[in-house]
Symmetry: C2
Subunit: 356 residues, 2 copies
């Protein structure tokens, strides 16, 4: 078994805590450790560190080495540039395949939140069985409890006949992030799950899927595979990545393959997609506020306030996200927290580039 | 003629720009110089620096020396502790009286805004005449244009028969800060003016008023006067101030004296009592925003944003005061900006004392 942690995200929606040189996975938002450290700890009880891979992009190398000290340095893979999840997962699959074609990969984003780690491990173990027994592409589906519009959904088909409490299903279809009306319909129907981005499959199974559905990407991976462990590898990697297609694993493979299975998961999960989600998941005081750092609130309610240093004082306001970190301060209406990304995009184009 | 600048205020309502060691008068809010420097420049064309006095409290000595370089150091008077405006004005009156009993004092707060400085000077010159001719206590009254509830009001009686365009009146009564209903009535009646806190009188006239209406304070001032210029002065000052009554000149004298005159003033004035007033007086962009420093606004309107350093970004909000200065950040609803004082009071009592 192999653990594969996808650690390339930028997390602009967590500005000003996240920056170009400090992506979301390195932030300590919940718990006492960075999200990526929590992800490693979640997996290390089923998979030893020598079998863990972390894949990221060049410009995060330094920080990644810092937080992944337990993992052998040669298992930290750096893409020359980010090309979405398909090439990224394919690259690690190729590396693992060269060592052990039969190896099962547990692929997980580095920056998600899992509340019940024991349940998570039980679901993973069951998923590994299914990936092996069915030679399948297994995805963890989160039972939705709200009509969230920020997640992709997966519709299930017939259940698999497997032993134990954990349920698994054939997958009927993948759905992009829906509007609210559609999300409500999905929730009501009972056969839609949130797409968690956690996948489990044999290295060979996923490479076969690449060959079938993304043959050009597959060819690139083969090329890289030939030079793995040689002195030419960095140059070949660079050359292949220059032209490799940027595409997500969901869109490129999962939506098209027929051997996709969903394992029902209820371990308490969030992709922590925005400050609003962090607010919702945090314990609140009697006025509905979440405070971190030196914060003073007067006649203030339903707000999230984070002050990395100094003091941040709010007076007579509500439903705000106020985040002060380093040289920057964000004041946003909670319902607009998805658009923090837009602020960052504007800053990039202007004289405010240095704050991104 | 003597200029007397009252520079003892703390200006907690301008936190976090104002601090215990940085009171409002030292802030550059309008124009390019600190408010106190603008006050000095406003007066220096009628009164030479050698005849200017600045009165403040001990803990502002250092900064005051910095901004009042043009004024002889011996003309900077430091009260051991602040005791409101009556003892403060009385002390300088005593000092001036000892030099020249006939000297006319122009008393002005250090931290107010005057838009038309030429008009201001013309009003002052006329007021000096009246103070001499009528042996009176002259106060500048601002013709109100809104039913402001943040100012004290003065009701006029019969006009004085004087030459020129500038009008002056006998004073009927002083009124404390009114509620909105009363303020509207005041505005409508046409015979109420805002109390500007600028006074003009002969040193002898005001000391006589102290003798009549605040005899105990007068006794203290006499005591101090005896030791002026001697080595015992600092100790006597300290001793007298320990027990001297803390009372305002309005409440202690102006409201009681019969020789009080109001000179009508329309030079564009504000006491800059809160961030809200600064917002109102500032030029705004097309969304009604006022920005200073590196500020990025997206879908934001009718807000005042000041960023001393770094960047401050607002998203989807309106009617906010956001002020970032040094180690502190304030986010307040505009209509609550008077209550910034409350925030400061809370901080003083708690572990946040260091931010005050």
């Amino acid at each position: 078994m192999y653990g594969v942690i996808i650690a390339g995200g930028s997390g602009t929606r967590f500005w000003p805590r996240s920056r170009q040189k400090m992506s979301k996975q390195f932030l300590t938002i919940f718990g006492k450790k960075p999200l990526i450290s929590q992800t490693i700890e979640r997996i290390e009880q089923i998979i030893p560190h020598e079998h863990m891979y972390v894949i990221s992009v060049e410009n995060q190398r330094e920080q990644l080495l810092e937080v992944c000290k337990k993992i052998p340095a040669e298992n930290l893979i750096f893409e020359p540039v980010g090309k979405n999840t398909a090439p990224c997962i394919g690259l690690v699959a190729q590396i693992i395949y060269n060592k052990n074609p039969d190896g099962v990969m547990v692929v997980s984003p580095a920056d998600h939140l899992v509340v019940n780690v024991d349940k998570f491990r039980r679901v993973i173990k069951k998923s590994i069985e299914i990936a092996r027994d069915y030679n399948g592409l297994v995805t963890l589906g989160i039972k939705p409890d709200t009509p969230a519009t920020g997640y992709g959904y997966i519709q299930i088909d017939k259940p698999l006949e497997i032993k134990g409490k954990i349920k698994a299903f054939n997958v009927k279809t993948f759905a992009e992030k829906p509007n609210l009306e559609t999300a409500k319909r999905f929730l009501k129907s009972g056969d839609f799950f949130w797409n968690s981005g956690v996948f489990i499959f044999r290295a060979e199974t996923i490479l076969n899927a690449f060959e079938e559905f993304l043959p050009e990407v597959y060819q690139g991976l083969q090329e890289i595979g030939k030079y793995l462990g040689t002195s030419k590898y960095p140059d070949v990697l660079k050359k292949v990545y220059k032209q490799i297609r940027s595409i997500s694993i969901d869109y490129g493979i999962m939506e098209k393959a027929s051997n996709v299975y969903l394992v029902e998961s209820d371990f308490g999960w969030s992709d922590l997609g925005s400050w609003e989600q962090v607010y919702r998941l945090s314990p609140k005081d009697s006025s509905g506020n979440v405070k971190s750092g030196d914060v003073l609130l007067l006649d203030t309610k339903d707000s999230y306030v984070y002050s990395s240093e100094g003091i941040t004082a709010l007076l007579g306001v509500d439903n705000l996200i106020v985040v002060r970190s380093g040289d920057s301060v964000l004041v946003a209406k909670r319902e607009r927290s998805e658009d923090v990304k837009k602020l960052v995009d504007i800053m990039k184009q202007k004289r405010f580039k240095k704050y991104v």
